[in-house]
Symmetry: C2
Subunit: 573 residues, 2 copies
């Protein structure tokens, strides 16, 4: 009972040993993360097409709920770039940006992804996320980074444009070029340049000046805050808002409101597929961040409990005016580096943000959208990593095909088609390979009891004995392949008296494959050739014993291939 409670409420675990030292560590981390999160939350809300306060709201309740249910001690949950892009793409299809329907759709999307995540956690379906292969994730994140950066160019130029694919966005920006606002361009380009400089050059400069590493790191991370403050002051001082520079404007002051997602069947069915995508992608992103950080401190992450933690966070977002959230890389690393000891750091961050949403929102009235766009561009361009194309090309063409297709389709047809095609393609290529398995004819490595491919190693063989090592589990997709192959091999060698199937690499024999093995046995019997098996694994043998094959077999089962060799080579006819 207590064990179960602890499983579902990890807070009971770390809460018991919470002390003053952990408290002060957590407080310091919280202050740093709060300062960093304010501009980031506003920017990601902009990216999702939502009013700026939605970004702040989405950072408060979700952080607290994750602190209660999540297992990572450093993960910081809130709006992130890729999920914001997915949100914009999904709700852009059901509602007009800026309408009340748009905000309700965002709540509904958070509610649906939260519900799905909790369900997946309760039914321990976390392994499903593994079907997003590394190459597909890498390709998807890279393409998303390009899409997100491109989507922000309109804010830097001060033009209105739209679109969810690269050609749409570029076409739209190009056709609106005449509306360009040069003051906005100056602000946007300066902010972008400044942020790039901070990211690339400030930390080495500070370190050279003798600043301690941790402080240098934190100062570097405050770059966006500096850009926000400076450009806001400039807009206010020179009344640039009156000269066509788009600014954040009025942001409601106060704690997150209580909101309700819609349960209209039309909306739910339109958002269900995007919600699945957001939950799975958000989960994969979050778990990889959490595992990376946990490994550094020899802690463990329970992926199924993570699903519940993230699910609770999203449900929280749905009822407090937010939108879909997940564990973000940048904010989690800051949290970790700033020394967060327990999830309580997250709770303190939430308090900080709540204070900001009450007291600081009037201060962002003059903040130009171009500055927010600049912070997004600089943040996401670090996600773009085309080297995965080169790495997979060198390793295996199949993985390369998955990366290239994911990147190309995400850019050309949008995030949903891109990632769905990537997953489908990975699975198809995997099935294609296993449908035409590698089968090696093996012989004895002299002086050992070890058997190897006769084409790669110098081995002993016997003309009356054919030993085939089947390098794949046998199932419906490749069962007939083996039938054809044995038929061909045996009919071309007329002195063959014994065929041994070495099953060391066969991890499964399904019913289709069983029927094929029975057919092979009968055909070989007709040709006066005996069929044997060697090195059949326990689980496979257990299953075969339930069939007629062991009774009907005109040969034997050998424990090891060497036993088979010894028996058949000496007693062979």
């Amino acid at each position: 009972m207590i064990e179960n409670l602890r499983r579902y409420f990890p807070v009971l675990d770390w809460g018991r040993t919470y002390d003053r030292s952990a408290f002060s560590d957590d407080m310091i981390a919280a202050v740093i993360v709060t300062i960093m999160l304010i501009p980031q939350s506003l920017a990601y809300a902009l990216l999702a097409g939502l009013p700026p306060e939605a970004g702040i709201y989405a950072s408060i309740a979700p952080i607290v709920l994750y602190a209660i249910f999540g297992t990572s001690r450093a993960l910081a949950v809130g709006p992130v770039a890729v999920v914001s892009l997915l949100t914009a793409s999904a709700i852009g299809q059901v509602a007009e940006q800026g309408t009340a329907g748009y905000a309700v759709a965002a709540l509904t999307l958070a509610f649906l992804s939260g519900g799905l995540l909790v369900l997946m956690g309760v039914f321990r379906l976390g392994f499903l996320a593994n079907f997003l292969s590394h190459p597909v994730i890498a390709g998807f994140i890279t393409a998303s980074g390009i899409l997100i950066a491109t989507s922000q160019v309109k804010h830097i130029l001060g033009v209105s444009a739209h679109g969810h694919t690269l050609p749409e966005m570029l076409g739209s920006i190009f056709s609106h070029l005449s509306e360009i606002n040069w003051i906005t361009v100056v602000i946007g380009v300066t902010a972008t340049g400044f942020l790039f400089w901070v990211r690339k050059n400030l930390k080495p400069a500070l370190l050279r000046m003798g600043t301690p590493a941790l402080l240098a790191d934190i100062l570097t991370k405050t770059g966006p805050v500096v850009a926000v403050v400076a450009t806001t002051l400039a807009v206010w001082a020179f009344d640039l808002g009156g000269k066509g520079v788009k600014i954040v404007g009025e942001v409601p002051q106060g704690l997150p409101p209580l909101t309700l997602p819609s349960v209209s069947p039309d909306l739910v069915s339109a958002l269900l597929v995007p919600a699945i995508l957001i939950s799975v992608i958000g989960f994969v992103e979050s778990v990889s961040v959490a595992q990376t950080l946990a490994a550094k401190k020899r802690q463990r992450i329970d992926p199924d409990q993570e699903l519940i933690g993230l699910g609770a966070a999203n449900l929280g977002a749905a009822f407090t005016g937010g939108y879909p959230v997940t564990g973000g890389f940048a904010r989690s690393v800051v949290n970790f580096d700033a020394g967060a000891a327990t999830p309580a750091a997250g709770a303190f961050t939430a308090i900080g943000l709540a204070f900001a949403s009450i007291a600081l929102t009037p201060l962002v009235y003059y903040l130009p959208n171009a500055t927010l766009a600049a912070t997004i561009i600089v943040a996401v361009l670090s996600l773009v990593d085309l080297s995965i194309l080169k790495k997979t090309w060198g390793y295996a063409r199949r993985d390369f095909a998955a990366v290239a297709a994911t990147i190309f389709l995400t850019l050309g047809f949008g995030v949903e088609i891109g990632v769905a095609s990537g997953v489908a393609l990975s699975i198809l290529l995997h099935l294609y390979k296993s449908a035409r398995p590698h089968v090696a004819e093996v012989g004895l490595v002299p002086g050992t009891q070890h058997f190897r491919n006769i084409r790669r190693h110098k081995v002993d063989t016997d003309p009356t004995l054919v030993t085939l090592r089947v390098d794949e589990s046998l199932y419906f997709a490749n069962a007939r392949f083996l039938e054809d192959l044995i038929q061909k091999r045996v009919t071309t060698g007329c002195s063959v008296r014994n065929v041994v199937l070495m099953f060391s690499a066969v991890n499964e024999v399904d019913y289709s494959a069983l029927e094929s093995l029975e057919a092979i046995n009968h055909r070989l019997k007709d040709m006066d050739v005996r069929l044997h098996f060697s090195e059949v694994k326990g689980p496979v043998m257990d299953r075969l014993k339930r069939s007629h094959l062991p009774d009907d077999l005109n040969g034997r089962f050998f424990l090891s291939q060497y036993d088979a060799w010894a028996a058949l080579i000496t007693k062979g006819r």
Copy 2:
């Protein structure tokens, strides 16, 4: 050049050695098959919802084309029960039965499946058919048999009914019960009873009376002809047509007409999915019949060339007033038993049927539909084999699930949903299993160089050495699973100094799995544990050598597990 011609025109192969003895064998087989095919072709046309002559037409050009392009010497191509059902289901959705549009849709369906089959043959995609697992095929054929038999009950009762699923059909028959025609019932029930008796009891009776086996067999097969002649005479003699018994009526006299399939994009796109289904199912049915018969005479079937043969046959059907065809089990077995020596037997059958379509069609005017329904019911009930449920239940629950789902969904939701769900479920269950692989910890079987699971065998082990045999190829779906598992195993045994991954069952390491192995290597290095590999197969090693893993590895690659054991157990720290 000649080789290529021979590949695509197998007729060039057997045609060269054709002699008088083969000619007379083929002629005898052709006469027998022709007589059997006449009622069968009429009946299957009725099942497909087409006018009776379509069944005859679909047996003429296709047979000749298959004789030119096909590789089986005994396969008889023409309308078959399951494909007729699929045709009725597909074109029932785009046209009203009895209209000109319905016949054009049938031609278009034959054209599309023919085109698809030829394309699959040219691109050698025959292996795709393997994704229809044996359990799915068995379940599908059984459910189709039940559906087909049920669909014929209305003809036996003389009522009009419709529907493509079992509940629809039963509901429709029930609601039309008041229209029942008792004379039709007498004809239908008598014919059905007679045919069952012929099938079950006539052959043993004839054999007891000393009839030669072959003749007894052929006489048994003429049962449908006897039923047709007797009931036609009865209808004619007592003018039962005037008493409400539905009869075949006017059938146009003459050779197959030249027809054109439609290329309307609407129709093509509506029929494309059914056409894919019909091609694949027809191909699987045909190839298994052909392989069974070929094995009996030590001949070989080339599945890719079979695709071209069947494709040509369907294209032929499309241009000569037919509908989709494939190699049928019943007719092929008769052809084989009657002694057909070459595909020329098929050509002679075509001549016989052409003669029938010119001269014999007036004779079937009084043939009652109930008799045709009786021949269908008796033929398809032999397809129904529920024992596959028991067999798969005993062997593996996963295969049982595939059979049960296929049967249930085919009966409840129609043939297309049934077979598509069966295939999808088989693939999902396969992926599910490989996503959570079996990993055995192994030790040395004393006195040998063979390693086995420590839980199943009495083996030698060493406390500082953990050897894990991974029983699955490593790919994206299970890469993370292995990471977790090794982490858990190594952290629970603090004396562990060496981990060996025995890769005898690993047939593939994709890029995702490579990254996991690198992560495992780094984590173990941090824990001061060395990671080794043994029995890595040639193709897997070739691939790993293209990565950084061999350089970064803090352990070694061993050719055999015994080498690893010998090196690590004696030199172990």
